[in-house]
């Protein structure tokens, strides 16, 4: 998947979760600018995990502050071949 395609899918997920028009969401938007609070944030990560079949660790989740953080985080997990792996405790 290209970076552009990934970006589009993430924008779509966030738009749908936050009930925002997609054009408002750019890779540079911060969660604060978009009015995304901590509960919204974990809800978005839940949607992202389901969409890409990945597991985002809590520690990584805590550092996500912008749309780009989400995109880059997913890219890293997909590169690491995490998709479809079971959660390890």
């Amino acid at each position: 998947m290209s970076y552009e395609e990934l970006t589009e899918r993430v924008r779509k997920i966030i738009a749908s979760a936050q009930h925002l028009p997609q054009e408002k969401i750019t890779p540079d938007s911060t969660f604060a600018e978009l009015g995304i609070d901590s509960l919204d944030g974990i809800n978005i990560l839940f949607a992202v995990e389901s969409e890409f079949n990945i597991n985002i660790p809590d520690d990584a989740a805590q550092n996500i502050r912008s749309v780009r953080d989400v995109i880059d985080g997913i890219a890293k997990l997909l590169e690491g071949g995490q998709a479809g792996q079971p959660v390890s405790a």
Binding site: S38, L39, I42, D58, D59, A61, Q62, V87, A89
Partner: protein, 405 residues
């Protein structure tokens, strides 16, 4: 007419043991009851640890038919109530049974029972759900069991305000005894949280620690879920004295508030209002308080917000207060938290020993209180608070006093 209300009996089932003495021994030794979760197959959860009640065999306490009627949470509540009532050496009469209230707190009820039934329905294609699911699951199952078992026929109900449930319950019971509405109350709470569906929902909240519970420590990584039950016997000082009952301490104030801020993020203003309300109800000044058993969940948000709330109310006196979180040892037992922490607070006052915040490693400038790190501290304290702040923004705070008789 406001009567003084004392606590004459206490019972606890927790990850620290199946009775009050084991609970206090572990708390005073700073010994956490946190370990690998046994109820769930390893690998299914991102967090491996919990504060489970170990080696629980319901057959020790109930016959087989009764066990079929009682979810684990109701068993914990009933067994804690038995210990509290035996401890208080109550001699029941018909009149006392009519004038005794039971008020319990519970957040999630018998969701273990529900989980099991629904797995059968959804996954195993078994089209029938056990008819006992309803009476086992209802949040008031523990209260009703205690009533049935002891023949108590006074006002009996259950309060459900998430993590503040049992502080709200104890507060209601306290006010009923104080006002003369009842002559005695059995109050507290119980909870059993270790079933897969429910734990997966907590996992998704991303507030559970991957290792242990380190309240107020800079390297804290979230809460540790716990289970169990705790119950107290409340009665007017006069009748406790008249029957020569042993007195653990007194409840002197109760305050509550709602944040009206956010469904999960706490607000220091709401917490501060509940603390001020409790102090006003007790007719005390902030300077009268010597110890706070904190809500102290070890989430990033709670510990910072609670520190801010304490500073708001206590000002310079905040630096003279001891504040510890016993959740570091018995875990976060949700609807049973206030009850367990109430017992912990009363025993602290009685023994002149403040239980520590266990697992503490590193000071956090945003949580700059004296948190009694890792080792219990001898201290004669007259008045103490026990804080509970819930998801949904609902706060409940109790004020306890050392026994003075």
């Amino acid at each position: 007419m406001n009567r003084r209300v004392v606590v004459t009996g206490a019972g606890v089932v927790s990850s620290l043991g199946h009775n009050r003495n084991d609970f206090w021994s572990a708390l005073s030794a700073g010994q956490p009851g946190v370990g690998p979760i046994q109820a769930i197959q390893r690998g299914l959860l991102r967090f491996p640890n919990g504060a489970e009640v170990r080696n629980w065999n319901p057959a020790v306490y109930f016959d087989e038919k009764e066990i079929g009627l009682l979810d684990r949470f109701a068993q914990f509540g009933a067994v804690a109530a038995r210990e509290a009532v035996a401890d208080a050496a109550i001699e029941w009469t018909a009149g006392l049974r009519e004038n005794t209230a039971i008020v319990t707190g519970c957040c999630v009820g018998g969701q273990g029972t529900e989980d099991e039934g629904f797995v059968n329905l959804y996954r195993n294609n078994i089209p029938r759900v056990n008819p006992l699911t309803i009476p086992r699951t209802m949040e008031n199952a523990a209260a009703s069991r205690i009533s049935l078992e002891m023949g108590i026929v006074g006002p009996t109900y259950t309060v459900s305000t998430a993590c503040s449930s049992s502080n709200h319950a104890i507060g209601q019971a306290f006010w009923m005894v104080r006002s003369g509405a009842v002559e005695m109350a059995l109050t507290g709470g119980s909870e059993a949280v270790f079933s897969l569906g429910f734990l997966k929902a907590w996992e998704a909240m991303r507030v559970v620690s991957p290792d242990t519970c380190r309240p107020f420590s800079k390297d804290r990584r979230g809460l540790i879920l716990g289970e169990g039950g705790a119950m107290l016997v409340l009665e007017p000082l006069e009748s406790a004295r008249a029957r020569g009952a042993k007195i653990y301490g007194e409840i002197v104030g109760f305050g509550m508030s709602s944040d009206a801020f956010h469904i999960t993020q706490p607000s220091p203003d709401g917490a501060a209002r509940a603390i001020r309300g409790a102090l006003a109800d007790a007719a005390l000044k902030p300077e009268d308080i010597g110890y706070i058993n904190a809500h102290g969940t070890a989430t990033q948000a709670n510990d910072v917000t609670e520190t801010a709330a304490i500073r708001k109310v206590f000002g310079a006196h905040a630096d003279r207060l001891a504040v510890s979180s016993t959740k570091s040892m018995h875990g976060h037992t949700l609807g049973a938290a206030g009850a367990m922490e109430g017992v912990a607070t009363l025993l602290s006052l009685q023994h002149g020993l403040l239980p520590p915040t266990a697992n503490y490693r590193e000071p956090d400038p945003a949580c700059d209180l004296d948190v009694v790190p890792n080792t219990a501290r001898a201290a004669q304290v007259e008045y103490a608070l026990s804080n509970s702040f819930a998801f949904g923004g609902l706060n409940a705070v109790l004020v306890f006093r050392r026994a003075t008789v």
